[in-house]
Each structure stands twice: as structure tokens, then as C-alpha cells.
């Protein structure tokens, strides 16, 4: 009976580890297979893209030669040449090589659609032409507006230059004209993209990708001594639900609401498991831990430490001091005041609320070995509040903030508090381009904190919480036994790619972005990571039932925890952002 209970408990956990070490674990345990599989993808990315660093260097060099000197003429405002240089440098992306383009096509998720779901998979020549025609009118309009704004910007800049960039009012006029040109430029370039639709048929690629994933995860399954034949058959079912989840998240309205693949994967999984039931033959591929850990190792490669310097001390203070403070105080509040029944649920909610939503929740849940239902609940809370905050926060900022502080202070406030990156961008864009950039940058710096938080959570739960639960004193070896090993892969990936990113940048400014950000990460690890997380969320849904989920929600404690923590987060982030950007570093703020 006890054994039965134990098996049931283990089945509910996002990750689980047994407290002993054997060398055979390196090929028999999921944690290690997550590391091996994750690194196979990362190394493949390096092999594909790294030989192209010379081409990228040449592109950046060409941009510098063309625009570099002109861009340096003044620091009174950002000149047209400054923006031209920035645009030209941005074109250097390793993922744009032939193999990169093919990889992107091969791993592409279903396309955006509105009325007919078939549009997610197939679009004929006529459909593409109709879309292009529809976009053409808007593009022509946007192009004309850009041309006009560019002429005005050139004229204003020329006037400011004639005065040696020393006339304040002429400088301000030029700055404003250039800002207007950038706005129209952005609109025109996005409108242009909507006239470039090409026919597609994604079905063949999706089948090929499914076969690839089945073999990819099948190898580890076989090595771990699990029945690989059953896994392969079952994987078809899990993969189809995953494709369905991506299809739903690609629907126009769902995209506008910010309801992403994670939500749909859980919803579809739970809908099946709680109505007709998950078929028994599909269970061998319901492997939450396996997919999630592999995805997390890939996520580690994106935690690039040089990113935290981007917006200086002000930015890192908002993202790296407020966030852990909110995390710890909310966790303490959850344990001591509202007495959360589960420490792991408490930690997972603290992370998704204070760090960055779904990705932080996944990393924390895996690091503290939370139950599937606990991760589902935390993700659900985050998605609901993200949608609300995405709409309410810009309204509050517009209505209450002084006009001169709406963009930077408002952007920093939203970037530090709204959970999901996409929602941060949407809310920031509502206020203006500068707010969008500040908000997205603060969120990016906060994203990097995931690795640090996940490591501390794993350490705290391994050495403190589990020790208290089992009543055993934890020695160094015991820590090693229990420590979730995939976290090591996550950290190693982060360190290796941070070093590579920095060394490329040391070679030439912008080369790190071209080779790592827009090369191995965007052109390889990102292409697969989304699929792996979606597979794991489908698995969570297929193994979760409403009754158990509602038990975790009993008394509304998770909601109280989230609301209290987020309220504290909103107050502290706003206060600290104001102090940092307007009292301690006003010069930095003026530069942005």
C-alpha cells in the first residue's frame, strides 16, 4: 500500500530524483539524457553557424565603414546616420545562412490563421497573392509617409548641423523629426513584411519533425531501458496534441489575447484526460520531465550574462535587487502568514510572479521538484494576470504618470512586473517606442535571473527543505545525490554561451549578437525549445485531473499569494525604478 502511494506521489512530480549515485546514471537517468540531448542540439548549432563568423564580421565592418563616421558627428541626439548604422548592423545574423533558413522552415510551428484552421498548414499561390494585395495598399501608404518623414528629418538634421549641433531648439526639432521618421519607418517595414507572403505547405515538414522528435527522444528512452516501441506509438498522440496546441495559439484572436502554446497544451491535455480519458497506450510518451529538462538545458544557453549590463546600474537594480526581494518576502508570506499547504507551489508561484512567468515557473518547478498540478496552477495564475496587467497598466500609466516620465519610468515598471515578455512588449508599445525598448530590456535582464533563482531554489530545497522533510542531516555527497542534475546542464550551457557571446563581442562589437543571439540560439536552440516545452505541457495536461488541481486551489491561497506578492512587486518596482532612473542616474535616463 505504502509502495503504491509512493509510486503515485512520484508520478505527480515534475521532476524526481533518487538519493543515490551510480555511474550508470549517466546513461540511465533522464536528467543526464536531458543534458546530452540539449548539448547535441547546441553543439550542432555551433557546428552549423560558427564557421560563418567571417561573413558576419564583414557585414558589420561594412556597416561601420558606411555609417560609422557619420554616426559619430554628435552626441546631442541620435542622427539619421546613427539609425542607419544600427539598422545595417542588425542585418548581420548567422541564422540567415541557407542551412539556418532550412532549419527554420523544418521546425516552423503552424502559421497564423483567422477563419479557416487549414490556413495554419497550407496556403496556395492565390491565397498568398490575395494577402499580399491586401497588404500592398497599407504598405504604399506607410512607404509614402516614411518618405515624407525622412525628408523632414533630413532637413531638420541639416539645420541642426549647420548650427554645429549647438542650438538647443534646433537639436530638439531634429530629435523630434527623427523620432517621427523612425516611427513611420517601423510601420513601413512591418507593412512591407505583409506584402511578402509566399505559398506554403507545412504538413510534410510537421510529419518529418514528428519523426525526428520520436527518434531523438526514442534514443534516450531505449538507453534508459524503457520500451521504445510503445514510446514511438504513444508519441504520435502526444505530438498531434502539441501541433493542435500550436495551431490554437496561432489563431489571430488567441494571439491578440496573448494565450500562448503553454496554455493551449495544458487545456487540450486536461480536456482529453478529464472527459474521454488519456488512452493507456499513449501514456509511455507522457514524459513531462524528459521534455521539460531537455528544454531547460536549451533555455540555459539563452541566459547570457553580458545582457545584464545593457541598461547599466539602474536597470540591474530594478531587475536583480527588487526581484529576489519580492521572491523571498512573498515566499515567507506564503509559508508564515497564509500557510500555503505546499512549499513547492509557493516557490513556483513566487518565481512566475516575480521573475518572468511561464519560463521561470518551469525552471523553478523542475528545480524544487514540484507536482504537475502545482506547475499548472502557477502557470494558469500567471497567464490570467498577465492578460489583465497588459491592458490595465498602460492605462494607469497614461492617466497618472507625468508625461515626461511615462516612457522610461512606465516602461521600467511594466518590464519589472508584467510576467510574460510578449505582454510586456505589447503594453510597452502601447505607450511608445522608448517605453517598449525600456520595458523589453528590463524584462530581458530579469530573464537572465532565472538561472540564478533556479540554482538557489534547487540548493534550498535539496539542503534545507528535503532535509527537514526526511529528518536527515544533509552531507556534501547527499547534496550531490539529490541535486537535480539537469540544473548543472542548464548552468554550464549558460556559462559556455555567455563566454562565447562576450568573446565574440570582444572581437568586434555586435558579433556576439550575430553569432550567438541570432545564430546558435535563435537559429537552433529556440527552434526546438518551444516544441519541447509544448510537449511537456501536453504531458502535464494529459496526466492532470481537475479534482487534484482544485485541491491545490483550496481556500484560494494560491490566488491570495499571487495577488499579495504582485501588489508588493508593483509598489517596490515603481519606487525603485523612480529612485534609480530619476534620482540616482538621471543622466543615464536622459541618454535613452
Amino acid at each position: 500500500m505504502d509502495e503504491e502511494k509512493m509510486v503515485k506521489k512520484e508520478d505527480q512530480e515534475v521532476v524526481r530524483d533518487v538519493g543515490k549515485w551510480e555511474w550508470s546514471e549517466l546513461i540511465k537517468k533522464e536528467d543526464w539524457w536531458a543534458i546530452w540531448l540539449g548539448f547535441i542540439i547546441l553543439i550542432a548549432g555551433m557546428v552549423i553557424y560558427f564557421p560563418h563568423s567571417g561573413e558576419m564580421k564583414a557585414k558589420i565592418e561594412k556597416a561601420n565603414v558606411e555609417w560609422g563616421e557619420a554616426a559619430k558627428r554628435t552626441d546631442a541626439f541620435k542622427t539619421i546616420a546613427w539609425y542607419k548604422l544600427s539598422d545595417a548592423k542588425k542585418k548581420a545574423e548567422a541564422r540567415k545562412i541557407k542551412t539556418g533558413k532550412w532549419l527554420s522552415k523544418f521546425t516552423k510551428k503552424p502559421h497564423k490563421w483567422s477563419g479557416n484552421p487549414l490556413g495554419a498548414f497550407v496556403m496556395g499561390k492565390e491565397g498568398a497573392e490575395a494577402k499580399n494585395q491586401k497588404g500592398l495598399e497599407k504598405y504604399e501608404k506607410a512607404k509614402a509617409a516614411e518618405k515624407e518623414a525622412f525628408a523632414a528629418a533630413q532637413e531638420a538634421e541639416s539645420r541642426a548641423e549647420t548650427a554645429g549641433f549647438k542650438d538647443e531648439s534646433l537639436n530638439a526639432e531634429a530629435k523630434s523629426s527623427i523620432a517621427k521618421w523612425r516611427d513611420t519607418h517601423l510601420k513601413a517595414s512591418k507593412a512591407k513584411g505583409k506584402t511578402k507572403n509566399k505559398p506554403y505547405n507545412q504538413i510534410g515538414y510537421l510529419i518529418g519533425l514528428g519523426v525526428f522528435f520520436a527518434i531523438f527522444f526514442g534514443i534516450g528512452t531505449a538507453a534508459m531501458g524503457r520500451p521504445v516501441g510503445q514510446f514511438l506509438v504513444a508519441f504520435i498522440f502526444v505530438y498531434l496534441i502539441t501541433v493542435l496546441a500550436f495551431t490554437a495559439s496561432s489563431q489571430a484572436t488567441m494571439k491578440q489575447y496573448g494565450i500562448g502554446y503553454a496554455a493551449w497544451a495544458i487545456i487540450f491535455g486536461m480536456l482529453i484526460s478529464n472527459t474521454v480519458g488519456t488512452p493507456k497506450w499513449a501514456m509511455p510518451a507522457v514524459q513531462t520531465e524528459y521534455y521539460i529538462k531537455t528544454g531547460l538545458v536549451l533555455l540555459g544557453a539563452k541566459i547570457l550574462f553580458e545582457k545584464i549590463i545593457v541598461i547599466g546600474t539602474a536597470g540591474i537594480f530594478v531587475a536583480w535587487v527588487v526581484t529576489p526581494t519580492v521572491w523571498l518576502i512573498t515566499y515567507w508570506f506564503g509559508q508564515k502568514i497564509i500557510k500555503m499547504p505546499s512549499k513547492r507551489l509557493n516557490a513556483t508561484i513566487c518565481s512566475d510572479m516575480s521573475v518572468c512567468g511561464v519560463s521561470a515557473a518551469i525552471a523553478t518547478a523542475a528545480a524544487c521538484k514540484a507536482k504537475k498540478e502545482e506547475l499548472t496552477l502557477a502557470v494558469g495564475l500567471s497567464l490570467v494576470f498577465t492578460s489583465i496587467m497588459m491592458i490595465v497598466m498602460p492605462i494607469i500609466i497614461k492617466a497618472t504618470f507625468p508625461v515626461d516620465k511615462q516612457l522610461v519610468l512606465g516602461g521600467a515598471w511594466m518590464g519589472g512586473t508584467i510576467d510574460a515578455t510578449g505582454a510586456v512588449a505589447a503594453a510597452g508599445a502601447f505607450l511608445g517606442e522608448k517605453a517598449l525598448y525600456v520595458a523589453a530590456t528590463i524584462k530581458m535582464i530579469q530573464n537572465v535571473l532565472i538561472g540564478v533563482i533556479a540554482f538557489f531554489v534547487a540548493l534550498y530545497f535539496t539542503t534545507r527543505v528535503e532535509a527537514a522533510e526526511t529528518g536527515q542531516k544533509v552531507g556534501l555527497m547527499e547534496i550531490w545525490y539529490r541535486f537535480p542534475k539537469f540544473v548543472l546542464g542548464f548552468i554550464v550551457a549558460s556559462i559556455v554561451f555567455s563566454l562565447l557571446y562576450t568573446s565574440y563581442n570582444a572581437e568586434m562589437s555586435g558579433l556576439g549578437r550575430a553569432m550567438i543571439d541570432r545564430g546558435t540560439i535563435k537559429g537552433m536552440s529556440d527552434l526546438f525549445r518551444g516544441w519541447f516545452f509544448a510537449l511537456s505541457f501536453v504531458s502535464i495536461g494529459l496526466a492532470t485531473n481537475f479534482r487534484e488541481l482544485s485541491e491545490h486551489f483550496r481556500g484560494g491561497k494560491p490566488l491570495i499569494l499571487y495577488v499579495t506578492g504582485q501588489s508588493f512587486n508593483l509598489i517596490l518596482t515603481l519606487t525603485v525604478a523612480y529612485i534609480m532612473f530619476y534620482i540616482i542616474f538621471p543622466g543615464l535616463t536622459a541618454t535613452i
Partner: protein, 123 residues
């Protein structure tokens, strides 16, 4: 009161067995609800909230993936990083470098976490 089980029932862990027809009926009903949200309810709510409408327009115009979970998934993060990095680089501002103040903040963040590790309750 639970009904008698039949061979046509579907068994779901933690739940009373339910008839196959009811189970499939529920699945179809909830699926239709999702379709209705995407095609009717969602757009209707959007039209009722002006701010939501404005945000949707911006999302469409700028092609923002509002469902993105990580910074590498949206172009705005890359654009923002480039914009701020280049702005600060050209101005030569000293507060955006890896200096003593910056490193102190990183150390402060780690100290906060270490304090949490030391003093958070185990129970």
C-alpha cells in the same frame, strides 16, 4: 449517489466512471466553447474595450507576439537592446559599464538570495 458501472463507461483516475456518450459530449462541448471564444466571444470583448482594441491594433501593426514567454522570442527585445546599447555607447555614459557600482549591485542580489537561503523557514 453513484450510478451502476457498465462496460461502455470510461474510467478516469480520481473520478466516477462516466458513460462514453457523456464523455465525448463533454469533449465536444468544451471544444466548441474554445472555437466560440476564438471566433465570436473574443472579438466581441475586444470591440467592447477601447484600450484592448488599441493594443490589438499595435500588436498587429508591429507584429508583436504577445504570447512570447522569453526575450529571444520577440524582435522588440533585440531592437530595444540594440537601441539602448548603442545610445549609451555613443554618449559614453559611465553608469552603463561593468564598474564597481554595477558589480556591487550584482553582489547585493546574491547576498539577498544567500540571506533568504539562510533564514527562510524549512517548515
Amino acid at each position: 449517489m453513484s450510478r451502476d458501472r457498465t462496460s461502455r463507461d470510461i474510467e478516469i483516475p480520481g473520478k466516477e466512471p462516466r458513460s462514453r456518450v457523456r464523455a465525448w459530449g463533454l469533449l465536444i462541448f468544451f471544444s466548441m466553447l474554445i472555437v466560440a471564444f476564438g471566433s465570436v466571444i473574443g472579438p466581441w470583448i475586444q470591440n467592447k474595450i477601447p484600450t484592448m482594441q488599441q493594443i490589438v491594433q499595435i500588436i498587429e501593426e508591429r507584429d508583436i507576439d504577445s504570447a512570447a514567454y522569453f526575450y529571444t522570442e520577440i524582435e522588440a527585445s533585440d531592437d530595444g537592446e540594440q537601441y539602448i546599447r548603442e545610445s549609451i555607447r555613443f554618449s559614453g555614459h559611465k553608469d552603463a559599464k561593468l564598474n564597481f557600482t554595477f558589480l556591487s549591485v550584482v553582489v547585493l542580489s546574491i547576498i539577498i538570495l544567500l540571506l533568504g537561503y539562510r533564514f527562510l523557514p524549512n517548515d
